[in-house]
């Protein structure tokens, strides 16, 4: 195993990265060269796809901005709801906790795509379509089960005595949360936040049905719309450029937060 390890690592990297590298190469290849292998090597390259994207209407960075806004807002909302709730649940009697765990776990497993129709009706009833702030509501609701699972485990990991001691010292509930408990579960909160952000950033069916105005689309919907514009001639070059630009923020996030993501899934989802 030891001697062949570099080989396995190489295989792993090729498998994980090759499809994305292909997108990268495609994004710099001129549209003619994509469909004609005979064009000589030096004449195949172009920046046209990127220029087209950035000067498009609406320009591509608009989608990045929309997705970041929705992602950030959903994450904030989810954490605001989940942290106090998880604290409360972690303080309950074990029998209660088990029941709640089961219900929350079932909700986390639920393929949420089946919910889009009823959610769309709600959006219509409350006039929440085409509103980037409003779409954070269903996202927070959908991300809540997973966030709860992760955070309940984090709170359960803390010794009860700590909380009790702080209470004896006369600290109120909010003070205890703020000064005693939050610093201790900060790592778990961070990793939960990252997972929620990824979910909101990547979500498709709800964004597809709630948003229709061109300048409000989130990244996944905008991308799929490029794809759907024609079945026969997808502008693959421009699309690949969009993929590259759209991946950069995630690449940065994953490289920076690898540890938190791993730790987050390690602590929570698994104990359920």
């Amino acid at each position: 195993m030891n001697r062949s390890r570099p080989l396995w690592i190489a295989l792993l990297l090729i498998w994980s990265l090759l499809p994305m590298l292909w997108q990268l190469i495609t994004s710099f290849t001129s549209s003619d060269a994509l469909v004609n292998a005979d064009i000589p090597f030096q004449q195949r390259w172009t920046l046209a796809h990127y220029r087209e994207l950035l000067s498009g209407d609406p320009p591509f960075w608009r989608y990045l901005f929309n997705s970041s806004l929705v992602g950030g807002l959903s994450t904030l909302l989810t954490l605001l709801l989940a942290v106090p709730a998880a604290y409360g649940i972690a303080r309950m009697a074990p029998a209660f906790r088990r029941t709640i765990r089961t219900v929350v776990g079932a909700a986390a497993l639920f393929p949420y795509v089946l919910l889009f129709l009823a959610l769309l009706e709600l959006a219509r009833a409350f006039q929440m379509g085409n509103n980037l702030l409003a779409i954070a509501l269903p996202y927070a609701g959908l991300a809540l089960p997973l966030a709860l699972l992760l955070l309940i485990s984090a709170f359960e990991g803390l010794p009860n005595e700590l909380d009790d001691a702080a209470r004896l010292e006369g600290l109120g509930l909010l003070d205890r949360l703020r000064w005693v408990l939050m610093p201790l579960i900060a790592p778990a909160t961070a990793s939960t936040g990252i997972l929620v952000f990824l979910f909101a950033w990547n979500e498709y069916p709800i964004a597809l049905t709630w948003l229709s105005r061109d300048d409000l689309l989130t990244l996944p919907v905008a991308m799929a719309r490029i794809a759907g514009s024609s079945i026969y001639a997808v502008p693959y070059g421009a699309y690949a450029a969009a993929t590259v630009l759209g991946s950069l923020p995630l690449l940065a996030l994953v490289l920076l937060c690898q540890r938190q993501i791993v730790a987050g899934l390690t602590n929570g989802a698994v104990k359920g």
Binding site: Q23, L114, P138, Y204, A240, G246, L250
Partner: protein, 276 residues
């Protein structure tokens, strides 16, 4: 949570008993279970159900095996492990729709790289996205690529809970490194593998984005999933009553599959480590 998960189920139950389509002016009119009778006779629904299950079974199976290998590799200590871990996570972090189109380009006939390779190897065109018998395998491949890192993470978490002492003791007793995998690693990893299977089966059974963008359900409906059929009914045929019926039925089918799996595992005693 009650609003986002509970309300839709109630609303679907109610809608599924009503006709609510263009024909009724989009107003719900009770039709005494006609939706459910239609569902039972709807060959397309059952075909989609089979296709969804087939997709879920094969991709989850492949993902578990692949993820196990990846986790074992990433659990060992070597230089640069952190970066490789992060890079191998990337496919999972990227939006499904985004890479689904990337795959569509890779599978493209005749300009995609796979097709080009087949050509230079002198094979006949593969037609990866237009062959009703094979295209679903292309969707499985894209799904495996995308979601294996998620299971790898879970298994990696599991591997870290196994104390190193166990391996040292095993070697002291004269066990071979190879045997340690089946004697220690796999048994202790079982709960994590099961959770991975559970999570992924549920997700794969609800597959939507990937297939929607990669194949649109085609060719000839051979990759269409239940979620997609429900989506089509609501958004294209504007038949909300029947769409709700399809979704409820899909949910019931999925619950049945998971429930049967859980019972089978219970009987075979595999779930026991979960309870401790």
């Amino acid at each position: 949570m009650a609003l986002v998960f509970g309300w839709p189920m109630l609303r679907y139950s109610w809608l599924s008993m009503h006709a609510s389509s263009v024909l009724t002016g989009l107003e719900p009119v009770s039709n005494q279970g006609a939706n459910w009778i239609r569902l039972l006779e709807d060959a397309r629904f059952w075909q989609d159900a089979v296709q969804t299950l087939r997709f879920a079974a094969l991709s989850v199976g492949l993902e578990i095996v692949l993820a196990l290998a990846m986790a074992l590799l990433l659990d060992q200590r070597w230089r640069g492990r952190g970066v490789v871990r992060a890079l191998s996570l990337l496919p999972w972090a990227l939006p499904t729709t985004m890479m689904a189109l990337g795959w569509r380009w890779i599978f493209n006939t005749p300009y995609g790289p796979l097709e080009q390779m087949a050509q230079s190897a002198g094979l006949s065109p593969l037609n990866l996205l237009s062959n009703p018998d094979w295209t679903w395998l292309a969707t499985v491949m894209a799904d495996v690529w995308k979601t294996t890192p998620f299971i790898t993470l879970l298994l990696l978490a599991g591997l870290q809970t196994i104390p190193d002492d166990l391996y040292s003791a095993f070697r002291l007793e004269g066990g071979k490194t190879r045997q340690a995998l089946t004697a220690i690693t796999l048994p202790l990893l079982t709960p994590y593998i099961l959770i991975g299977i559970l999570f992924r089966t549920a997700q794969a059974a609800g597959v939507f984005d990937l297939i929607q963008v990669l194949t649109g359900g085609g060719p000839a409906g051979s990759t269409e999933s239940i979620a997609q059929y429900a989506y089509l009914n609501a958004m294209r045929f504007l038949d909300f009553g029947y769409s709700a019926t399809v979704m409820l039925a899909g949910f019931v089918l999925l619950s049945l599959v998971i429930f049967t799996a859980a019972v089978l595992l219970q009987i075979s005693g595999l779930l026991r480590p979960l309870k401790s």
